[in-house]
Amino acid sequence: MHIPDGYLGPITYIALFIIMVPIWLYAGYRVRKDLRSKQVPLLALSAAFTFVIMMFNVPIPGGSTGHAVGGAIIGIILGPWAAIVSISVALIIQAFVFGDGGITAIGANCFNMGVVMPIVGYYTYKLISGNSDIKSVRRIAAAVIAGYLSLVIASGFAGFEFGIQPYLYPAVNGQFPYMPYDLSVTLPAMLGEHILFFGVLEALITGLVFVYFQRNTPELLENKKSKKAMLDKVPV
């Protein structure tokens, strides 16, 4: 889902940078407000985790390939704002150093994978888990569904960004300047393969990591506010 340089015209990629700047600033502010220095190693490892997970390309019938991102599980564990920071860092390194995703498309890719995924993942998880016990099966189901939806919806955004190019930049002398396929092609292509395959992979990884944390370090999954209140009582 890493959109390369050239597929999106300037209107789209500039608009997505303009959307991303306040999101990055607010995410930085929230990390400053909510995260303690003790949690920095976890944030750093989450960026490395999403970087490496995205390297696992999986082939699917029809000849296409894709990968999971880990965006939902990072959002569930660290909160969506910290996740935006860590996934964006991984995506920016991938673009600049490894040419995976375009430089001009950094705003778009950070929006699709770095913002949509943790926000959809976090709120889906919250909504489904409700007040259930941290160790409950309901929370595993919530994490799995959160993982699935997060990647499927992110792929819908990418498909939409691809597919509006022929409308924004119609053909000149029979040649489209940017992505030549419109929404009737890009939406089914992106959504289809993520609904059938990559979403399932993301769901599986989200569930596995969630169960690991649930069994071993459930305190990391506790509500942020109650944890903060608890920590604030510890004398300095």
């Binding site: 050239g6 985790f49 490496v52 390297m55 991984a90």
Partner: protein, 107 residues
């Protein structure tokens, strides 16, 4: 370093070692085609796409280390090296950001 951090690092190392599995997928991802794809399918390369596509030359394109060659072993080694570089740079950047952003309120 607490125990859970150690386990996460261990899991990450295992993942890094297995990243060359990602090389087994040889298909083309939708929307990430090379320029030849358009030449073949449309008979032309979209001109805006062509000019933007060369805007940046990544030092380690496609997670490969230049000079390691196109052999399976070379590609696998390049992939693992890229995973290590990516992880280390990710961790370093977040630590740098963390120093700026996060107040020291751990104690």
């Amino acid at each position: 370093m607490d125990n859970s951090t150690k386990i996460i690092i261990a899991a990450l190392i295992v993942l890094v070692i297995f990243t060359p599995l990602g090389l087994l997928a040889v298909g083309e991802t939708f929307g990430e085609w090379g320029l030849e794809y358009f030449e073949e399918k449309l008979g032309y390369v979209p001109p805006g796409l062509e000019s933007l596509s060369s805007i940046w030359g990544a030092p380690l394109p496609d997670y490969g280390i230049p000079g390691l060659g196109d052999t399976t072993v070379g590609a696998a080694a390049g992939y693992i090296a890229s995973a290590i570089i990516g992880s280390v740079v990710s961790v370093g950047l977040i630590y740098g950001l963390g120093k700026i952003l996060v107040k020291d309120n751990s104690s």
